[in-house]
């Protein structure tokens, strides 16, 4: 309950920020910390609905079937466009991921908004043992524009 009222306060705070000119990346300022915390909270809700079934509660995936997100080099890496494209288009590449292959099909998620994709990726980049910078809606927008 406390968490929820906290979230409402954060959402209100965030709404006011959204009128400010968009920053392209996180800074060390207090404002962007609030933004990231809020983005993670919202991203978690998307994760539970859209990703958890395959990638699991612990982000560990399913051996040889669904790739793990926890500890995955691409997930916490600097090439954010790559993971944005994966969420948009899904993934059925059967390429080696950190030394393993996975046999399931990941569905595309083009119906998610730029904000939602930014939130869910910010969540997975900052959950379990992962720690990485936020993904912004502007970054998703740019990738979506160039997407086939």
């Amino acid at each position: 309950m406390k968490r929820i009222s906290g979230s409402i306060a954060l959402i209100a705070a965030l709404m006011s920020f959204q009128h400010l000119p968009k920053k392209t990346g996180p800074t060390k300022s207090g404002k962007s910390t609030v933004l990231i915390t809020e983005s993670i909270e919202r991203g978690k809700i998307i994760y539970l609905q859209k990703c958890l079934s395959c990638h699991q509660v612990d982000g560990g995936g399913v051996p040889h079937l669904n790739a793990p997100l926890d500890g995955a080099s691409a997930v916490v890496g600097n090439d954010k466009a790559k993971i944005i494209r994966i969420v948009l288009n899904g993934m059925t590449d059967r390429v080696e991921i950190d030394g393993e292959y996975y046999s399931n099909n990941m569905a595309p998620h083009k119906d998610l908004t730029n904000r939602q994709i930014a939130d869910v990726l910010t969540y997975v980049r900052n959950s379990w043992t992962n720690k990485a910078s936020a993904v912004t809606a502007a970054e998703v927008k740019a990738v979506r524009a160039k997407n086939k």
Binding site: L48, Q49, C54, G60, V62, H64, P68, Y101, A107
Partner: protein, 435 residues
């Protein structure tokens, strides 16, 4: 108290199964072929019915899928995925009678799942082909580098790629070709996407194909589609009493994620059933148009085809012979014909459950071996858990956490039951030592 009990049983085990005076029934002695075998402390982590013990024959052998044991007691193990040169199939040999495999040799350059011994041949599959190797009278492969390729060109599109095999008494081999799809949606595994009508996957997959065991280079045109509407079968076995093929289907995934308006998370964890079918030539088990609801005991129209969780369908589809909880992932089926286990197990079915992932966010289940009593080739009673504890966890919240995942079953010449694990590569042996 429990600790004391464990210590006591450990003492008895160390004393040797064949020599302990506490093992009272003399007929329980005769079934243990080798008195030198030691069961392990706490039965290698397995929970078993009273009177059963277990040991690890081998550990860390790789992704151990289906297994078979020769008349001499050697164990052949099919490894999945990328395999080292000449190590697609392992032969495990206990050279000193202690129950552990001291000598491990290999053959074959392909990963896969299927492996069975029948009538002097070892049959093994990659994810697209089936090979066979002649065995000598010691159960050894005569020509390891020159198998006969009997089946080729089978569909392998990542998903449900295992080609499991079994044989009947007439020289036919049965191969599972799993559907490269969850529920034949226009866009696989995508929320709200409709089912394709008719489902084109069924032309080349989603069923069991029958071929000749002794003909080379057969492909789709040479075989017949023996049964259809089976999403993915990994465990299958021929029942010699009813002279019939039995299969275990992996039921469809993600009812909640794909159709959240119709199914809750709880529904998703419990629907659909994992199903055992007794098949006759020409049977249709109904995938993708229906699934079996274990609570309603009905075939229900799939939501991709207009279902609402209640509408029945599949009038022409066969009913399951045995119904298990959802998502447990049955990876092996074995009819037990040995004399070592108590009478109730004779001719009954063991099923190895790989363990679930699609029950999330509810805890995952399975990671066990179940038993179903049979008489005259028909199931006669409720299924029960036979061996449990493979996961090594009280509660499995994420599938990655499970330590061991049962994937293959085999019966030894003395009636021991062997279980393979494709997570850590452990081969277990379960022995009945008597009350």
């Amino acid at each position: 108290m429990q600790k004391y009990f464990c210590f006591l049983s450990l003492l008895l085990l160390v004393a040797g199964i064949g020599t302990t005076p506490v093992t009272k029934a003399s007929d329980s002695l005769k079934v243990i072929s080798t008195a030198g075998i030691r069961a392990e402390e706490e039965n290698a982590g397995l929970k078993l019915p009273p009177g059963f013990v277990a040991l690890k024959v081998a550990e860390n052998v790789g992704r151990a899928r289906h297994i078979a044991v020769t008349a001499q007691g050697d164990i052949y193990v099919k490894l999945m995925g990328r395999v080292a040169e000449g190590k697609g199939i392992l032969r495990l040999r206990d050279t000193n009678g202690d129950g552990k495999a001291e000598e491990i040799t290999g053959l074959g350059n392909y990963g896969g799942t299927g492996l069975v011994i029948n009538n002097g041949y070892l049959y093994a599959s990659s994810d697209a082909e089936v090979f066979r190797y002649q065995l000598n009278d010691k159960g050894e492969v005569i020509n390891p580098s020159q198998p006969e390729k009997i089946i080729t060109g089978l569909i392998n599109r990542r998903q449900h790629e295992s080609k499991s095999v079994t044989l009947d008494k007439l020289g036919n081999i049965y191969v599972n070709i799993g559907a490269f799809s969850n529920s034949c949606q226009e866009q696989d595994r995508t929320p709200g996407s409709k089912g394709r009508m008719p489902c084109p996957v069924l032309d080349s997959a989603g069923g069991i194909w029958q071929f000749r065991a002794d003909k080379l280079n057969q492909t789709y045109g040479d075989g017949i589609r023996y049964a259809t509407g089976l999403r993915n079968v990994v465990g299958l076995d021929w029942n010699n009493q009813s002279d019939q093929l039995y299969v275990m289907q992996h039921g469809r995934d993600d009812l909640h994620r794909l159709f959240p308006d119709v199914y809750s998370e709880q529904d998703n964890a419990e629907i659909p059933a994992e199903t055992m079918y007794a098949l006759n030539k020409g049977d249709d088990a109904g995938w993708p148009y229906i699934y079996y609801d274990p609570a309603q005991h009905k075939k229900i129209l799939a939501p991709e085809y207009g279902g609402d969780g209640k509408k029945e369908a599949g009038k022409d589809a066969i009913d399951p012979a045995v119904v298990f909880p959802a998502h447990l992932a049955p990876n092996a089926l074995l009819f037990y014909t040995g004399d070592q286990f108590p009478a109730k197990y004779k001719n009954g079915a063991f099923v190895a459950f790989h363990g679930s992932w699609n029950r999330a966010p509810l805890p995952q289940e399975g990671y066990s071996v179940a038993f179903v009593p049979f008489e005259n080739g028909k199931p006669t009673g409720k299924w029960e858990i036979f061996a449990d504890g493979f996961s090594g966890l009280e509660v499995v919240t994420g599938t990655r956490g499970a330590q061991h995942r049962p994937s293959g079953l085999a019966q030894g010449p003395d009636g021991s039951l062997y279980v393979s694990d494709d997570q850590k590569g452990t081969i277990y042996r379960i022995i009945y030592k008597g009350k």
